[in-house]
Structures are given as structure tokens and as C-alpha cells.
Amino acid sequence: MIEINQLTKTFTSQDGTPVHALGGVDLTVNDNEFLTLLGPSGCGKTTMLKMIAGLQGWDGGTITIDGKAVTGPGPDRSMVFQNFALLPWATVMDNVCFGLRLRGTERRAREERAQELIEMVGLSGFESKRPGELSGGMQQRVGIARALAVDPQILLMDEPFGAVDEQTRRLLQEELLSIWERNRLTVVFVTHSMEEAVLLGDRVVLMSARPGQISEIVEVPLARPRSSDVGGLERSREYTEITAHLWDQLRSMHSEHRAVEAVR
């Protein structure tokens, strides 16, 4: 269980004015929950994800995982990045093995584990290709396999499908659902798409910007497993209602923000 308590972070912008990235966020992520963080850009959702990952410090408040305070990256968490962040000189196999190699796992064991994951994400036959030879969607499959290879309890995903085209994105969403339905990891998934947030999440955490705060938490009542009938879900009333509600909220945030800017 991830518990976030009164988390605050203030950056100083180039011209010296303080930017309140996070203004006292409280959030609990349950075990085996798929939580999506949704909000306009600048609401601090990626910042908060990186804090959970232990990659970014904060000013006030606490983050604990199963009661232990987060002070840095740990083997219980791994992260998937928007721009894949693969090693361009390494093959698909070596990229997936990377985390295990850093931990000193013996070669045969790590390649065996990597092979399983490469098959799971549908990249069999591409083991010896380099990222530059793969499409964006395939690169992100490598990113997901790499993150899963270290057997994390928590998967942190930072707009992982934000850099691929719409069709690939939808296929990857379905695949992520079916992977998750098998391993049921705790997932924190950052996105700016309300459709994605609703399709994937058990709960959608809607954040607002300046300062970054939680404005609403929406339960998604759609039944699991969802991967078998994504099309049907997307036509269901609950799905349409929740996405419409989220968009109403987001739209009012955007127009409020425009009004504030205009007053300045």
C-alpha cells in the first residue's frame, strides 16, 4: 500500500517566482489496484509519480510504501517512461535484462526471465534488434518488459502511450490490461487522456494545477476483466458518463486557468 501524506513541492521558475507543483496531496493506493492519475499539464502528476519512484525529492509531507518511508528508488518499484528511455546501443534482450544485470543476476537466469517477458509483450524474434530498428509501440513494449523483468510490486507508468500513434496506443492499452489481469500488480498510471484513465483504472484521481492538488477521485465501476471486450466497454453507459464527467471537470479547470491568466 502506498500512502501519501500532505505532499508539497515548490519549484522556483527561471524568473524567480515560486511554482507550486504540489500543494498538500493526500492519497492512498491500495495493493493490486490500478490507479490512474489524470489532470491538465502542470498539475504535478508526473512529479508525484517520480517522487513515488524515488527519483525526485519533495519539500514537505511523507510517502510510505507498506509503512516504510520512501527515500530513493527501490527494488519494489519500477518505472515505464513516456519516451521509452531505452539504451539505444543495447539489443531488445539486453534492454530487458538491464535491471537484472544491475542487480548482479547471473546471465542465464536473467536471459531466461527476459525471454519470458519478451514473449509476453509479443516481441519474440526481435531479441537481437536495437531500439532504433523498432517502431515506437514496439519500443514501449520493451520498456514494459524491462520494468516487469525486475519483478516489482508496484509499476509506475508515466504517460507510457503518450508518444505512440492512436491505433498503437489502443492496442497497447488492451495488452496492458491483459498483462495486468494476469499479474495484478499495483499500478500508478499517469495520463492526460480521460478515455485511457477510465478504461484502465479502478479509480481515476483527477488533479488540478497551480497548486497541484487532488480535485476528485472517481471510482470506475466497469467489470474486470476488461481486456476481452474493450469495444463493448467503450460503448457502455458508465464509461460514457464517467469520461464525460471527467471532461467537464477538466474543461472547467482549463477555462478557470485561462481566466486567471487573463486577470494577470
Partner: protein, 200 residues
């Protein structure tokens, strides 16, 4: 002619060779530490801006008229481009590549060897290519005094003796060698960093 060419190759080999060893090292330290960087960057830029002909006299006073001063000259000419390329390469590393390693538990030594060094390699290699080209254009300056045997020395001395044909032949050889060397280094780079310039 071959004797002269070989002598020049040896000088460039030693001078550029030392720069290939020290350039990435110094560039790495400068890229890693802001403190080291602000301390040394002005000197590096100053050195880079100096025309080698300007300080050859000083090097001869310090290191003698023999090969040692020529090694120094070629080293000083080749060093700044390699060091500066290394720094640029380190500054250009995408933050998420390092964060990905950190999030999987890499310590700072592992980040250096597994992420930073391979990420910087393409820039180091292009720095070496620039430096080698620059060293060739400097070899005539290096061999102005006591440059025989040496292709640059031969070009200079034959000119002063009005042996125009020989001078032109030397210039042709210097030019062709430079092009050949550059092409070889380009292929070497493609061989060593085949991923460079591709996506991700």
C-alpha cells in the same frame, strides 16, 4: 616521401593519441562536476582559440627543437575539440535514460559505465575526428623548425628552396592522407556506434 610521411604520422599518432586518452577524461570530469567545469572551461576555450603557430616558439623553448615540442603542439591542438565534444555529449544525455537506470537501482558507478559512457561515445568519436583533421592542418606548423624528416617540414623546406613541384606533391599527399584518415574514422564510428542517429 614515405619516410617523411611516416615521421609525420608518428608525431600525429603520439600527439592525437595522448589527446584521445586525456580529452575524454578531462571532458568527463568537467561534465560531471560544475565546480571543475567553471574552473577549467575558460582555459579550454582560450587554448582552443589559439592558433598553434602562435605558441610553437614557446614550446620549442620549453621542450627543445626535437620531437617532444612537436608532440606537445599536436597534443594541444587535438585536445580541446575532444574534451569539448565529450562535455557536449554528457550535457546532451536525456535525463530519463539516467532516471531509468536509477529507478532500477543503479548506483552512480553503474550509471557512469552503463549509461553515461556509452551515451557519450558517439560525441567522443566525432571529437576525435575533428581533432585528427585539425592535427593534420597543424602538422606543417609543427614541422616548421627542424621538421625533416616530416611531410610538413618537407613541404615548407621545398618551398623555401623553390622546388615548387615537390611542395605541391607534399600538399597533395597531406590533403589525400587527411581525407583518407577522415573516411577511415567515419567508418570506425559507424562500426563502433551503429545506433547513433537512429531513433531513441
Amino acid at each position: 616521401m614515405w619516410e617523411h610521411l611516416l615521421a609525420s604520422f608518428r608525431r600525429i599518432g603520439v600527439g592525437v593519441g595522448c589527446a584521445i586518452v586525456l580529452g575524454p577524461l578531462v571532458g568527463f570530469l568537467m561534465g560531471r562536476s560544475r565546480w571543475v567545469n567553471s574552473l577549467t572551461e575558460p582555459y579550454l576555450n582560450f587554448l582552443r582559440a589559439l592558433p598553434p603557430l602562435g605558441y610553437i616558439g614557446l614550446l620549442i623553448v620549453w621542450f627543445g627543437i626535437g620531437d617532444l615540442s612537436k608532440y606537445w603542439l599536436l597534443f594541444l591542438a587535438a585536445f580541446p575539440p575532444i574534451a569539448i565534444s565529450t562535455i557536449n555529449g554528457m550535457r546532451g544525455i536525456r535525463a530519463d535514460r539516467i532516471q531509468a537506470a536509477e529507478s532500477m537501482g543503479a548506483n552512480s558507478w553503474q550509471i557512469t559505465t552503463h549509461v553515461i559512457l556509452p551515451s557519450t561515445l558517439p560525441d567522443i568519436l566525432s571529437g576525435i575526428r575533428i581533432a585528427t583533421g585539425f592535427a593534420w592542418t597543424t602538422v606543417v606548423a609543427a614541422e616548421l623548425n627542424n621538421g625533416i624528416p616530416g611531410i610538413g617540414g618537407l613541404a615548407y623546406v621545398s618551398g623555401t628552396q623553390l622546388q615548387t613541384a615537390l611542395t605541391i606533391a607534399c600538399i597533395m599527399v597531406i590533403g589525400l592522407c587527411a581525407v583518407a584518415l577522415d573516411t577511415a574514422l567515419k567508418y570506425l564510428a559507424q562500426l563502433l556506434v551503429p545506433w547513433h542517429g537512429k531513433a531513441s
